[in-house]
């Protein structure tokens, strides 16, 4: 355990993330799951701010909290009858799932503990937004343009899939 203000904030955010993520996968009512998903995304935005990525934190809140979760809640509303508390929300794979996930977690943490990362201690640039903006329009301009085509394809695809015949 570490002490100090950043460490305390980190532990609070981590507890909120993991706690709300566990609620997302275990709540009986899928609508409550969606609300816990909002809390989880907000806490992840806090982690981004702690890591010095303010722009990404803003994008996280705008897109995940503002768009994706609202879309999920719309879909839950449209498939209305299914989320009442009486319907069983998990299948029979809970115990095998727990075993597999636990084994995966132990293997991942073991690998993390035994890897020597090439850490760098240079002082980071103060303004991440400026740096990201410059990189997106110079070095990463091709992926930046291609991803707009991906978004357009998803838009057209969603309309074509969901429309009535």
């Amino acid at each position: 355990m570490l002490t100090g203000v950043p460490a305390t904030i980190f532990y609070i955010l981590a507890a909120m993330i993991i706690g709300s993520a566990v609620m997302v996968v275990s709540m009986k009512n899928i609508f409550h799951s969606a609300l816990f998903l909002v809390l989880c995304f907000f806490s992840v935005a806090g982690i981004y701010i702690l890591l010095g990525a303010e722009f990404l934190a803003a994008v996280q809140i705008l897109i995940y909290v503002g768009a994706i979760t609202i879309l999920m809640i719309f879909a839950i509303m449209l498939t209305h009858k299914l989320y009442s508390a009486k319907i069983k929300q998990s299948n029979e794979q809970v115990v095998p799932g727990l075993i597999i996930v636990g084994a995966l977690l132990i293997a991942t943490l073991f690998a993390l503990g035994n890897t020597a990362w090439k850490l760098s201690f240079e002082t980071p640039e103060a303004q991440s937004t400026v740096g990201i903006g410059k990189l997106l329009l110079t070095e990463y301009v091709l992926p930046f343009e291609v991803v707009s085509v991906v978004l357009l394809t998803a838009l057209i695809g969603a309309v074509i899939i969901a429309r009535r015949e």
Binding site: P6, V25, I47, L82, N91, T123
Partner: protein
């Protein structure tokens, strides 16, 4: 100071919770939510590596932005498919949708 391993551990736990959700949820929307949790775990990894391994560059954060974009596209198409399945089968529990199983 909070180190790289703290963030990686947090991300590993979040990823495993997401996998558990994908394995055990019956509702297709619940599965999509668990996938979003896994995307977030990956993004925390990207940003943590960006800060601790290449602090003067922003490649990790730009990767995370692209991941968020693709996640948004995935959620849109996924929820459209879920609505179509609901219209045709009157249900979105994935253990009832077995048309592609032998």
């Amino acid at each position: 100071m909070v180190g790289l391993n703290h963030y990686l551990t947090l991300s590993a736990i979040l990823f495993c919770v997401g996998i558990f959700g994908v394995l055990t949820r019956r509702n297709a929307i619940g599965i999509l939510m668990s996938i979003e949790l896994m995307f977030n775990a990956v993004n925390i990894n990207f940003v943590a590596f960006s800060k601790f391994v290449t602090p003067t560059g922003f490649a990790g954060q730009i990767f995370a932005i692209f991941v968020i974009t693709v996640a948004a596209a995935e959620a849109t198409v996924g929820l459209a498919i879920v609505l179509l399945i609901y219209r045709n089968y009157k249900g979105i529990n994935v253990d009832q949708i077995n048309i592609m199983k032998w």
